[in-house]
Symmetry: none
Subunit: 213 residues, 4 copies
C-alpha cells in the first residue's frame, strides 16, 4: 500500500533526521551539553520520538557510535585493500575526506564510557581489523623501501595516526571545500622526508636556507 510506504518513509525520515541533527550537535558542542530537546527541535520531531527510535540518549549515542565506527572501518578497509602504490595509499589514509572516529571524539568517548559489552566488542573487533590491514600495508611499504629500517612498526603506526589525527582536526587539510592544497602537499613532503628534507647533508650547512615564500 502507498499508505504503508508513506509511513515507512516518514519513519525512516524521522530516524535519519534525528541522527543527522544529533551528529551535528554532538560534534559542535559535545554529547553531554546537547539535550534531547535540542536534537528533537532541530530534527523537527518530539523528544519522545527519539525514545521510540533509540530507547534512550545512551542508545542514540551507541547507535551513532556504531555508524561512525563502521563507516570509518569501511573507508579505511577500502583504501587499504584497494589498488595503488604505497605512498598513495598512505596519503589517502591520511588526507582523504574521512568522517572519522576522532572527528567525533566526544561520541566515541561517551560511547566508550558506557559499560556496554557490545561497545567493547565492536571496538576491539574494529581495531584488530584495521590494525591487521595496516600492518600488511606497512610490510609492503618496507619491502618497497619506503620505510626506514631503523623505525619500528609501532612508531610508524603512531606516526601515521598522528598525521591522521592532525588532518582530521584541521578540516582545511582534507578534501573539504576549504581544502588548502599547498599546505597538504607540504605536509605530505614532511611526512616522507621530515623537516630537513631528503638532502644529502652531513651537517646542517648554514647560509643555504631562506628562499622561503
Amino acid at each position: 500500500m502507498d499508505k504503508n510506504s508513506g509511513f515507512r518513509r516518514r519513519k525512516e525520515q524521522s530516524r535519519e533526521r534525528i541522527q543527522r541533527a544529533a551528529l551535528e550537535l554532538f560534534r559542535v558542542q559535545g554529547v553531554k551539553k546537547t539535550t534531547l530537546a535540542e536534537i528533537a527541535r532541530r530534527a523537527g520531531v518530539s523528544p519522545v520520538t527519539i525514545y521510540n527510535h533509540f530507547a534512550s540518549k545512551d542508545g542514540l549515542v551507541k547507535e551513532m557510535f556504531k555508524d561512525v565506527v563502521e563507516g570509518t572501518v569501511a573507508t579505511m578497509q577500502s583504501i587499504l585493500d584497494g589498488d595503488g602504490a604505497f605512498p598513495e595509499k598512505l596519503e589517502s589514509l591520511i588526507f582523504a575526506k574521512l568522517e572519522m572516529l576522532r572527528h567525533h571524539g566526544d561520541i566515541v568517548a561517551q560511547a566508550i564510557s558506557l559499560p556496554d559489552p557490545d561497545m567493547r566488542e565492536l571496538i576491539e573487533y574494529s581495531v584488530s581489523q584495521i590494525t591487521h590491514a595496516l600492518m600488511r600495508l606497512l610490510e609492503e611499504g618496507r619491502l618497497q623501501g619506503y620505510i626506514h629500517p631503523g623505525i619500528s612498526d609501532r612508531s610508524v603506526m603512531l606516526y601515521i595516526e598522528m598525521f591522521r589525527d592532525f588532518a582530521i582536526n584541521h578540516d582545511h587539510l582534507t578534501g573539504k571545500p576549504e581544502h588548502d592544497v599547498r599546505l597538504t602537499q607540504e605536509l605530505s613532503t614532511l611526512f616522507f622526508y621530515g623537516i630537513m628534507g631528503n638532502r644529502h647533508i652531513e651537517v646542517p650547512q648554514d647560509g643555504e636556507g631562506k628562499e622561503k615564500a
Copy 2:
C-alpha cells in the same frame, strides 16, 4: 601579619586543593560532566567554598584556563628563549613534560565558549607572543640549514604543533614516569627525516618532491 598568615595559608590551601581536584576531574571526564559537588568532595571542602573562591563554575573554569595558558606560555617562552641548538630546542618544545593547552582540551573549549572578553584577550595575546618567539626560532633554524627551503613557515609550524599535540596526548612520549624512550627517539628521527629517513634515495628529488597527482 602573623595573625593573617594562618588564614592566608588555609585559604591558599583550599584554593589549591580545589584547583587540583578540578583539574584532574576536568581532564578525565570533561567540564560539563564534572559537578561541583564532586570537585568539592575530592578537595575535601564544601561546594560553597568553591563559590567563595571562584564565584561560579564558569569562574573556576576561567581561572584554571588562565593558569593553563600562562603556564604553557611561560614554559614555551623559557624553552624558546633559552640556550641550546635548534634541534634541541625543538625537541624540548615537543617532548618536554608540559602541562599544556591541548591536554586540557575541554577546559579550553569550555573557556573559549564563554563570551568573556578577558578570555579572548588572554588568548590572542598568548598566541601572538608564542607565535613571535616561534618564528624567531624558525628563522634561526633556516639559517642553520635545519629546515628544508621548500617548506613554508606555516607548514613547519603546523608540523611542530602536530607533534606537540601528539606528544601531549600520549603521555608515554613525554618525560613522565611511563616515558617510552625508544619511541620518543624514533619519533624524533621521524620528525627530522620523515618516514623514509635521510637516505640517498633517488626517487623523490628535493624541493620538487612528490610526483603524486
Copy 3:
C-alpha cells in the same frame, strides 16, 4: 479533536490550579518568600510542571500580573462604561468586589521590577485606558454638580484612588462575605461630604475654604 480534549483539559486544569495556588501564596506571604515547591505542593503538581507552563518563576509572576491587570482594567471599564448615575458609578468603582491591582501589590512590584518591555507596555496602555475613561466620568460628574469646582481633576482622581486602595486593603469593606455594611455606608458619606458632613456650618466658607498656611 476528542483525542486532544482530554489533554487540553488536563493541561488547563493544571495551569489554573497552579495560578490559583500561586495567587493565594503570593498574596499571603509575598512573591519572594513563596517557593515554587510550595506552589507545586498546593496545586498538587510537580514543580517541574510549573516550568513546563510558565518557563520560570518570573514567567509565572508575569503571567499572573497580566491576568491581574487585564481583569482589573476590564472590571473598571465595564463600570465606567455602564449605565448608572455618577455617585453609583463611583461607589462601584471604589467598593465593588474587585480582584484589583493593589490587592496584589507584591506581584505588581515584582513584575514591575522585571526589566521586561512587555510589562512596561502593558502597564502604560492599561493606565492610559483607565485614565481616559475615568476622566470622562469626572467630566460628567462635574457637569452634574457632584464635584466641587475648586478641586482639580488630579486631586479628585487621587482621592478616588485613595478610597479604592483603602477599600481593597480592607476586605470587610467590599462585597466579600465579611462585608461590613454600616462601615461602607459611612465611608461613602465621608467620601461625598467629608468629615464635617454637609451641614450649614458657617466657619469654612464655601469654595474659599481652607485659609490654612
Copy 4:
C-alpha cells in the same frame, strides 16, 4: 580615655551605619530580598559585624521595627498632646513628614510574622496608646462640631488612617522636598468637606447640578 571613646564611636558608627543601610535597602526592595551581605557592603562592614551587633537577620529586623514603632508613636503622641486646634492637629497627623509604620510596611510585616512575644507586646502597647490619644482627639473634635454626628468613631479613625496611609505612600504630599502644596491643600479640603464640598445642597438632585464654572 580617647582610645575608648574612639572605639565607642567607631562601634556606634558601625551600628548606625548598619541600621541606615538596612533601612534604605529594606524600604526599596523589601526585607526578604535584601541580603546581609548587601547591607554589610553598603555599611562598609563585614557581614559578621552585623551579627556582633544584632545576633541575626531577624534580630536586625526586630531592632529596626522597634525603632520605627517608637519613632512613630513618639511623633504621633507629640502631635496629639500638643497645642493647636482640632483641624490643625488632624492635618499634622496626616500630612506631617513622618517616617511612619506604613512607610516601612515590609519591615512591619516581617517583624510581625516573627513568632516573638516581645513584638506582640510592643505592638499591642503602641496601638493601644495611640488609639487612646486618638480617641481623646476625636471626642474633642466632636464637641467642637468638627465631626458629623452620624459618623461613628471607628469610621472616622479608618478615614484618618486612610488619608495617612495615602499621604505616606505619596511622598509628594508630605513635607518632603518635592512637596506639592496645592495638591495637599485640595486633599485637606476633601478631607473636611468631601468631594461635593460644603455647599448648601439639599440632596444631590440630578438635573439640578450644573453650576460648575
